[in-house]
Symmetry: C2
C-alpha cells in the first residue's frame, strides 16, 4: 500500500451515492491533503458540498477534468454507489469531450458493474490522471482484522463465515454482488443488483412470513470484494446503517474481509454493534480456505 | 430412465406445496397407475384430495408408512415445495416411529435444503420403500429441449442463457437456489431461500424504482437443478404462473435445463408464453460449456 502522495496535489473524489465519499474526504483532509469533490448529479449526497466541489453529469467529463487541472490535481478516487444508469442520450448531457470518449463509454455501460467502473477508470487514465484506491489514500477506513467491539462469533458462526466467503469467491467470475447471508451452513440470500440493504430487507421479510425459520438471533452477513476485482474502483463498504439493518433481519453478526471492505464511520459502527448486540469481525481472505 | 413399474403397486406421492403434486398425480394416473396422495399438513394444497389421500404431519411418519403398506405401495415420489420448518417439538407431533427416526431427522433438518430432503429420502428407504423421481414416473412433465411456443431467443439472449447456466453451476456446491436473472451478461438476481417467485417480484421492483434500468423487454430467467443434486428429491419446476411473473418483471424469456426442470402444466405454460410474448426454451446442460 503506497502512502498518499501529497506532491500529487489535491485528491479528486468522484462521488457516487451514500455517506462514504464524505467520510473519505474527512479522512484525507485529516491527513493534511486537500480534496476536490466531484459529485455526480443524481447520485451524490449534497452534503459533500462542505468541501470544495464541482458537480457534473455522468456523460459530461469535460467539466470535472477541467476542474481537476485548474487546481493541479493529478490523482482521483472513485467512491460511493453508482446505480447503473441506462445509456441513453435522453438521460445524458453529452459534451464534446464525452462525445470523443463515447465508443469507450458505450462499451463500459454495456457490461456488468465491473465493466462500467473500469470503463470510467480507463477514461480517467486516458486523460492522464492517476486513479487511486480509497484504501490507498485512507487505509484507516478499511475493515481491520479481528473482532471490532466486544462480541465474538461462536464456532458455528465461524463455520458460516467460512462457508459464505467460499460462496462469494465462487460467484466472483460472474460479477455478482459482494454479500451473502448464511445460517447453519445454508446460504439464505445472495446479493446481486439489489444491493446489501435490499438483501437484508428481504431477510427481514423472509423471517416475518416464516419463509425462513431460524432461532431469534441467527445468521451472519458476509461481505467481501469479488476475487480479482480492481479495488481502486469498487470496494464494498459497511457502516452503522448496515448494523441496524442486520439487527432488523435477526442476524447475529457481520463478517467483512479485512483490508478489503471500507468502513464509512468506524466509531459509529462500533457503537451501533454494541447497541444491537451484534458481532462485527474482519476476516482474512485465507479464512475461506481453512 | 426406467419405465414406471406397475407391479410396484400404486405410487405414493408425498405432497409439498404448489400445483405440481396434483399435476404429477394426473400424469401418473393417465398412464394407468394408481396413486396414493400423502399431503403434508401445512404445506400441501387441499386440491390433492381429489385422489385417494392420507394427510400427515411432518414428524409423524408412522401414518403415511402404514397407509402405503395397506395399499401395497412400495414406491414413493416426493414433490412440491417444502419451506423449511423449524425443528422443534413444539411444532411437530411426534409419534413412536418418528421418535425412533429422530436422530436421523435432526441431522436432516440441520443442514441445507438438500440435506433436509435427502434425510427424508434416507428415512423412506430405511423403511424399505423405493424413492422414485418425478422425472422417472412422468417424463412428459419434464422440460423438453428446444423452443416451446413460437418465440425464440436472439443471439444476445442465448449468450445470457449460457452465462446464467455457468453462474448456477458455480453456485451448486453451496446449495443455493436454482435460478438467476441475467441481462446483458450481468447477473441481476440470484435465488436463494426466497424462491423463484420472490426473486421475480424483486426484479419487478428493481425496475420500478430504477435500481435496474433496462430496455422495456430485457433479461432472461435461467433455471436449472444444482449440479450433482439428487433429482429424485429436488427437481426445480416452472409453470404458467412463472411466465406471468417473468412478464411482470419485464423479462423477454425463460430458459430451463431440458430434462431436468418440471413443467407443472405444459399446455397452460405455452398459452401463457404466447399471450405474454415471451420465449420459453429448454437448453441442454452442455450449453453452459459452449
Amino acid at each position: 500500500m503506497r502512502a498518499p502522495s501529497r506532491d500529487a496535489g489535491p485528491l479528486a473524489i468522484i462521488c457516487g451515492g451514500g455517506s462514504i465519499p464524505l467520510a473519505l474526504a474527512r479522512a484525507v483532509t485529516a491527513r493534511g491533503r486537500r480534496v476536490l469533490m466531484l459529485p455526480i448529479r443524481g447520485f451524490a449526497d449534497p452534503a459533500v458540498e462542505s468541501f470544495p466541489h464541482r458537480w457534473f453529469h455522468l456523460g459530461t467529463f469535460r467539466r470535472p477534468f477541467r476542474a481537476m487541472r485548474e487546481v493541479g490535481c493529478r490523482e482521483a478516487v472513485m467512491i460511493g454507489s453508482l446505480v447503473r444508469p441506462r445509456f441513453s442520450v435522453l438521460h445524458l448531457r453529452i459534451d464534446a469531450t464525452t462525445l470523443r470518449l463515447l465508443p469507450r463509454l458505450a462499451a463500459a455501460f454495456r457490461g456488468g458493474d465491473d465493466r462500467l467502473l473500469s470503463g470510467i477508470a480507463a477514461i480517467l487514465e486516458g486523460e492522464g490522471f492517476v486513479l487511486r484506491g480509497a484504501h490507498e489514500v485512507a487505509p484507516e477506513l478499511l475493515m481491520p482484522a479481528g473482532i471490532v467491539g466486544r462480541r465474538a462469533p461462536g464456532a458455528e458462526e465461524r463455520e458460516d463465515i467460512r462457508f459464505g466467503m467460499r460462496a462469494l469467491r465462487a460467484l466472483g467470475p460472474f460479477d455478482v454482488g459482494q454479500a451473502v447471508i448464511v445460517a447453519g451452513q445454508r446460504v439464505l440470500a445472495v446479493e446481486a443488483a439489489e444491493g446489501t440493504a435490499a438483501m437484508l430487507a428481504r431477510m427481514t421479510e423472509m423471517r416475518r412470513t416464516g419463509r425462513v425459520r431460524l432461532a431469534p438471533h441467527a445468521g451472519v452477513l458476509v461481505k467481501a470484494p469479488k476475487p480479482g476485482q480492481d479495488r481502486r474502483i469498487d470496494l464494498p463498504a459497511i457502516g452503522p446503517e448496515t448494523v441496524v439493518q442486520a439487527r432488523e433481519a435477526g442476524l447475529v453478526g457481520i463478517a467483512a474481509e479485512a483490508g478489503s471492505v471500507m468502513v464509512a464511520e468506524p466509531d459509529a459502527l462500533v457503537r451501533a454493534a454494541e447497541e444491537a448486540g451484534l458481532f462485527v469481525i474482519g476476516v482474512d481472505s485465507a479464512e475461506a480456505d481453512a
